[in-house]
Subunit: 270 residues, 2 copies
């Protein structure tokens, strides 16, 4: 029997601790966040497969505080729409949490409608700690924050970021605009913040790799500007480990990124 229920478009924001997952996107080699959430949504809406469009394909081990997704679904035979968030959170494991569910315009697509994104990268420069080790990169060294900020300045603005990706596709555009880069500390945690209109594959971890070399005093800040100008990936060899990276927020309004709060760390875990 054909499913005659009218289809609606939804947008949803979710948080996940990426430690246990092989990244966001469905893949044959391991369990992913997308497949877990799709399975629970399909059950909730009693359809064969609800297909989720994620705003970003986060890598294995990367975390999200505000991953944005969109999906189409009919009415659930079990619950009214206003209970979707609660019902879904009951079905999902504790390391994946739905933050909000809303109706979206029919043409809204979490990936293609995105106007900007915010990431942070967390480095623990103090002692290893059982409460932060799942979501920070451990590097117990003094960080020269002023040098990091100086290097960040050269990455702000509109540039070809070919030097900071590992997937160069000749026909594709590697130009992105970084609205704001900054570094904040919370006790021994050093948080590198990145806000831009879009990011190439592994771009945040690649920029972070270079910035951490600057912070440790192994690289001069101006070297980052040279790497950027070279557009040559072989210059930027260090990709920071996945466990320190958080996708914080996806923006769908042009200037929405301006209201993003960087100033009360560790906001990334609340």
């Amino acid at each position: 029997m054909k499913d005659e229920r009218p289809i609606r478009n939804f947008r949803m924001e979710l948080s996940f601790d990426g430690t246990a997952y092989h990244g966001w996107q469905r893949q044959p080699n391991g369990i992913t966040v997308q497949e877990v959430v799709e399975a629970k949504l399909s059950r909730l809406f009693n359809t064969e497969r609800v297909k989720i469009q994620g705003s970003s394909r986060t890598d294995s081990g990367v975390h999200a505080q505000g991953m944005a997704v969109s999906f189409e679904a009919p009415e659930s035979p079990y619950i009214p729409d206003w209970k979707i968030k609660k019902a879904l959170n009951r079905l999902l494991p504790p390391d994946i949490r739905i933050r909000s569910v809303d109706y979206a315009a029919p043409d809204f697509n979490a990936r293609f409608s995105a106007k900007g994104k915010a990431y942070i990268y967390v480095v623990n420069t103090g002692d290893l700690n059982p409460f932060t080790s799942r979501w920070s990169h451990y590097q117990p060294e003094f960080m020269q924050l002023d040098a990091v900020r100086e290097a960040m300045k050269s990455l702000e603005g509109t540039h070809d970021f070919s030097a900071f990706t590992i997937e160069l596709v000749p026909e594709k555009d590697h130009v992105r605009t970084m609205y704001r880069l900054d570094v904040k500390t919370f006790g021994p945690l050093v948080c590198l913040c990145f806000v831009g209109n879009g990011f190439l594959y592994k771009m945040v971890r690649s920029m972070t790799g270079a910035l951490l070399e600057v912070g440790r005093g192994r690289m001069q800040p101006q070297r980052v500007a040279e790497m950027l100008a070279s557009k040559d990936r072989s210059m930027a060899k260090d990709t920071a480990p996945a466990c320190g990276l958080f996708l914080m927020k996806v923006f769908y309004e042009e200037d929405e990124w301006r209201s993003f709060d960087f100033d009360t760390p560790p906001f990334f875990m609340l």
Copy 2:
């Protein structure tokens, strides 16, 4: 052959995420923090069994930021004393971390030399969150902090705390002194802080149970004073879940508790 190596007394501070453990103290029913640390210490010092004296016997699921312990050990055949912390952290799982190792006076005993302790209890009053759910109690309700503070006032000072323990031993003394109780918030996290000269079995979780009832408006603040005065356990029925509790610090100097920083939450995870 008899072990002829001279024996020294050590003190050590450690943090652990208690989620995976059946509490601190060795027991037949499950793996405990004490037995894991003792096994690694015995290996490091190449002795049959290093016996650790813990300052507190934390319950199953309770966390520690600054558990204090003492133990006697000969010289290690493998490493010099100044490398004990690093070597031990290599051997231990990531949810147990050694913060410091020092020589102690021969008569120092982590349990009997203690002059005071600080605990905090963390309640998440916001959305369930993958990054805080391992170490907070989830209670998504508005908390009347002024009412909690008022109730806390009646617990400060020297009292018989029989109403707030579940293990009444007739010959034993149930009088303890609470130096300072306070409540702080960090975003949606509400942190109840307790500093005293000592605590009875399940006393913090029992006081927290009552204080949370006050915070939710289900109990008047003065009711806590009445419960305390009654010295009757049957009055205090609510014991807050283990997952929200942290042993923060054990004090070995008389006025050391005064310097304990309550004012920069979430200090408990750094």
